[in-house]
């Protein structure tokens, strides 16, 4: 652990926070827009660069970074997620610029609202980074709660009836859900405080994990269920997922991209941290059963809801529920392959969903609506957007050569290895429903006849570039996963399973075959 990385971790969190504060202080009446835009772009670029640098150093050196005592902590597991926050944050943040300019241009947003947007956007990034980097389990909870508070105003940005309703549902359901998370966290803490030799250490995840302390099993079971339900609310898992389609569809498109692409994954990370603790004290049976049940129910409900939607953003929102359900299922399958599949699915889905939500922003700019039945003939109206949309939906449906295919194949292998044949058959059939929903969307929007009066023209290169970059990433990860990512996933899997070494390549089946 070097001083330099410690400082960088602090700088990583401090940058968006400082940018948010500065945005709040600067008066919106005097300053032009671009002042905020420059600040916003500057902050997100620094976050992205330092997040990438930190993630790669942590993964390649295999050393963890601690900061501010043991309060903040970056391991390979966290590295996977700060990579996601940094990369998707920058691209969605970039897309925000043309999108907001368009909204200001047609008088949907005032100067003050733009200022609010940039303030809360940076605050949002900050809270996610804190959630991912916390080692203090109470701090994790506080940060997750803070993400709700930072984003609720972004969801309500347009300040009309629909967005306010969505924001209220989001606020009430998530705070209630996350209160479950608090209760679970407190139970774990109390459990640790009485079981660990040094009770002051009970608040740190690093000292709770691998301590071998005699935890009370019943309390731990209650705590795990509470944590999964609680943080699962934030992640969009059954049963408290009902806020998600509303909030993700009413938020401005770049915010939806970040909510679906990254925020849900941060909540998943917290669940993974609790999962590790639970597996250690309870054995893998109970936690895996809980994740399997919640996962498969989420996947089924969300997949069928996807088919019913006439609002493209609601469709995408339900698809987020479905994909987080897959992540939960992978955790339920367990084993090195299951965990690796879960982590990869988080990363891949993050990029794909960010792409698709940004594309709905393009559609919003061209058509001014989100209804599938009104968006017609994108191919003729905006060909570049159309091609990107097709790629996005095809990759969301899990088709090769795009990234999501890799994690889905891995998930199914993990399922067969774990012996959950019935679950995997159901899962496979439900994926077919998802495919139907995705291709139906392409069919209705992209390949239909454009209305006569539609104005042809693209949304502008500046808006398209971040989307093209996202497509490149999706294709790149699907065809040739970079070695750093593979190593990162492997190290992260080792942390979740609390095992040493190259867990993936030394998974029992593979090892038996080659180590003769």
């Amino acid at each position: 652990m070097t001083l330099e990385s410690t400082l960088l971790v602090i700088a990583l969190m401090a940058t968006p926070f400082a940018a948010a504060l500065l945005t709040a202080v600067l008066p919106s009446k005097i300053l032009p827009h671009w002042a905020y835009e420059v600040l916003h772009a500057f902050s997100l670029t620094i976050v992205c660069v330092s997040a990438l640098y930190l993630a790669i150093t942590v993964v390649l050196n295999g050393e963890n970074v601690q900061a501010l005592g043991s309060w903040f902590y970056l391991d390979a597991l966290g590295a996977v997620f700060i990579f996601l926050i940094g990369a998707v944050g920058l691209l969605a943040g970039w897309y925000s610029l043309p999108y907001l300019r368009h909204k200001v241009g047609n008088d949907t947003l005032s100067n003050r609202q733009v200022k609010h947007y940039y303030f809360f956007f940076n605050l949002f990034i900050f809270t996610m980074l804190v959630a991912v980097l916390s080692n203090n389990i109470i701090m994790m909870w506080v940060a997750i709660e803070a993400t709700t508070l930072a984003t609720v105003f972004l969801v309500a940005l347009y300040n009309n009836r629909f967005s306010l309703e969505a924001a209220w549902k989001y606020l009430i359901i998530c705070t209630v859900g996350v209160a479950f998370g608090l209760y679970g966290t407190l139970l774990v803490y109390a459990n640790g405080a009485s079981a660990l030799a040094d009770s002051s250490q009970a608040i740190f995840w690093t000292s709770l994990v691998g301590s071998g302390a005699p935890f009370d099993p019943l309390l731990m079971q209650i705590a795990f269920v509470f944590a999964v339900v609680g943080f699962g609310t934030k992640a969009g898992l059954f049963p408290l997922h009902t806020w998600l389609p509303d909030a993700h569809s009413e938020a401005p498109s770049p915010v939806s991209a970040l909510l679906s692409g990254v925020l849900l994954k941060c909540a998943v990370l917290i669940i993974m941290r609790f999962y590790t603790l639970a597996v250690e004290t309870l054995g893998s049976g109970f936690p895996q059963m809980i994740m399997l049940i919640i996962g498969i129910v989420s996947v089924i409900i969300a997949a069928f809801a996807m088919l019913m939607q006439d609002d493209v953003k609601r469709l995408l929102a339900y698809s987020s529920c479905e994909n987080i359900g897959i992540v939960a299922l992978c955790l339920g399958f367990g084993g090195p392959l299951g965990i690796a599949a879960a982590l990869l699915h988080c990363v891949f889905h993050g990029f794909i969903k960010a792409l698709l939500f940004c594309l709905t922003g393009n559609l919003d700019m061209k058509y001014g609506t989100r209804e599938l039945s009104k968006i017609k003939g994108v191919l003729q109206v905006a060909p570049a957007t159309a091609v990107l949309l097709v790629i996005g939906f095809v990759s969301l449906a899990g088709f090769p050569p795009f990234a999501l295919f890799v994690s889905e194949v891995l998930a199914i292998i993990a399922a067969v290895v774990s012996g959950n044949i019935i679950v995997v058959v159901i899962f496979g059939l439900v994926l077919t429903v998802v495919i139907a929903a995705c291709f139906r969307a392409i069919s209705k929007m992209v390949l239909s006849k454009a209305p006569e009066d539609a104005a042809k023209g693209e949304v502008g290169v500046f808006a398209l570039v971040p989307q093209i970059l996202l497509v490149v990433v999706i294709l790149w990860f699907g065809v040739a996963m970079p070695q750093q990512l593979f190593k990162g996933i492997e190290a992260a899997t080792a942390i979740v399973l609390q095992e040493e070494g190259n867990v993936l390549l030394e998974a029992p089946v593979i090892k038996d075959l080659f180590d003769e």
């Binding site: 090769p400 496979g428 077919t432 139907a436 069919s443 593979f486 090892k511």
Partner: protein, 485 residues
């Protein structure tokens, strides 16, 4: 090695060139689309031909080369043997022929579907060709799954090309039903990896009997879905909503052939195969055979008639595989030959059907009479295609069916149930022949009916491909027999 290059390099080129071309078509202007598609198809065909020549020069029976590995696990790889080399060339060349044909077909002169060509057709058709080559060359189950899925997506886009409501529904039906089939491949991958830690198809031979049976049943399930066998057949008759060149490819050398190609690959590499698989495949094949037979009797739309005929021809191929498992290697050769031969015959017949609707504006058989007089080329093509499918010597269908049946009789000797299955199949062939002769008698000779008399001329690119295919229908069987025998 060929001209200093490994044959694997050519094989990769045959897959990658169409994929790159598809991207170029998206980026370039509309006018360039057909040339790019044509160029990619030709290059891909040359590459597969070079693979064939190169492989013929090697002594080895089976060459394997890995492409992508994770750790020690091979994820993607190529395999070359008699089957993959022959089938890849076949599927790609038919893709190329159909591309040439569609340049004439997709035009505003088309009397059934007057339509200016759009780029999306060429994008997905070119992709389709590359994916078929990739499917055949793949040495791992994951590779097969990847290309299996890509062909599914391509067929979706091509079937819904005309954008009508029925076309949309038919496209979704094809996508969904064949995707249900991939579930079998997914499970097979899981089982194989779980039991052997490998993804290569060759590892199937290492499995114990129990797991091998389960795995082969999973692959068989996938193959049924893709090859439109019961209980999945529904998507194929509906897929007639596609432009006729697309139907030709779906029936002749892509979608339905993908299923049997995957199954053939798995069978050759699986080592000793449990007999139960043979029984399941044989019984399913004969049920589908009878079913499709009763379905095509009442059809009057030429394309729907052909759809059910394809289903029954695919059942013959499955029957061949089944009798291979039950002990006859002749039946296997026959089945492989039938994949090859049927590809040319069925493509010919479809392209003739397309040419009829192009020039006449209808494809309802009762309205079409006296074709031979007005459009001799179409008349000859119709007769040759029909007779080849019915299995009349000296056309190609006869030789492969003959091999399947003689192999089947060998394997079935002494077993009453198996013999019944063979006899049922044989009866079907005979009746099928009679049925085609009836339509030939009604459509070809005599004075042209009103519809036929008003025929417009056929574009050169279309006539050229028809001539080429008629020749191939005569000779393909000899090529295949020489290669496999």
């Amino acid at each position: 090695m060929l001209f200093g290059f490994d044959i694997a390099g050519f094989a990769i080129a045959s897959v990658v060139v169409p994929f790159v071309a598809a991207i170029l078509i998206i980026v370039c202007k509309q006018a360039a689309a057909k040339w790019l598609s044509l160029g990619a198809g030709s290059l891909s065909f040359f590459a597969t031909a070079l693979v064939w020549i190169g492989f013929a020069g090697i002594e080895a029976e089976r060459v394997h080369s890995g492409l992508i590995s994770l750790g020690k696990v091979e994820v993607l790889g190529l395999v070359f043997d008699q089957i993959s080399v022959m089938l890849a060339s076949c599927f790609v060349v038919i893709g190329l022929i159909i591309t040439v044909y569609s340049i004439g077909y997709l035009s505003s002169k088309n009397r059934e579907h007057a339509d200016a060509p759009r780029r999306s057709f060429y994008v997905f058709f070119t992709l389709f060709i590359g994916a078929m080559a990739g499917l055949v060359y793949s040495s791992t189950l994951v590779g097969q799954l990847v290309f299996f899925e890509i062909t599914g997506a391509c067929s979706w886009a091509l079937i819904r090309y005309y954008g009508t409501k029925t076309a949309n529904r038919a496209a979704l039906k094809a996508l969904i039903l064949t995707h249900v089939g991939t579930l079998g491949l997914f499970l097979a991958i899981g089982i194989l990896f779980f039991q052997t830690g490998s993804l290569g198809i060759g590892a199937i031979a290492l499995l114990d009997d129990h797991w091998k049976t389960v795995l082969l049943l999973c692959v068989l399930f996938a193959a049924w879905a893709k090859s439109a066998q019961l209980p999945f057949y529904m998507w194929l008759p509906s897929a007639m909503e596609a432009p006729t060149p697309v139907s030709a490819y779906l029936h002749g050398a892509s979608m339905v052939k993908a299923g049997v190609a995957v199954f053939a690959r798995v069978l050759t590499e699986a080592g000793a195969i449990p007999e139960i698989i043979g029984w399941v495949a044989a019984i399913a094949a004969v049920i589908t055979l009878l079913f499709s037979f009763f379905m095509y009797l009442p059809q009057r739309d030429l394309k729907r008639l052909l759809a059910f005929s394809t289903i029954s021809q695919l059942s013959y191929i499955f029957l061949g595989f089944a009798f291979f498992i039950l002990g006859s290697s002749l039946a296997f050769e026959g089945a492989l030959m039938h994949i090859f031969n049927h590809a040319f015959a069925k493509t010919l017949f479809f392209l003739v059907a397309g040419a009829l609707s192009f020039t006449l504006g209808t494809r309802l058989l009762p309205h079409i009479k006296g074709v031979l007089k007005k459009q001799p080329l179409l008349g000859v093509g119709f007769a040759v295609g029909a007779l080849a499918i019915a299995g009349v010597p000296p056309l190609n269908g006869f030789f492969s069916k003959f091999a399947i049946f003689s192999g089947s009789f060998q394997a079935a000797a002494g077993d009453f149930l198996l013999m019944t299955i063979v006899v049922v199949a044989l009866v079907e062939t005979v009746v099928c022949f009679a049925w085609f002769v009836k339509w030939i008698g009604s459509v070809l000779p005599g004075e042209p009916s009103e519809v036929v008399a008003s025929a417009t001329p056929l574009p050169k690119s279309m006539s050229f491909t028809l001539v080429l295919l008629i020749i191939m229908v005569f000779v393909s069987s000899f090529i295949a027999a020489a290669w496999l025998g």
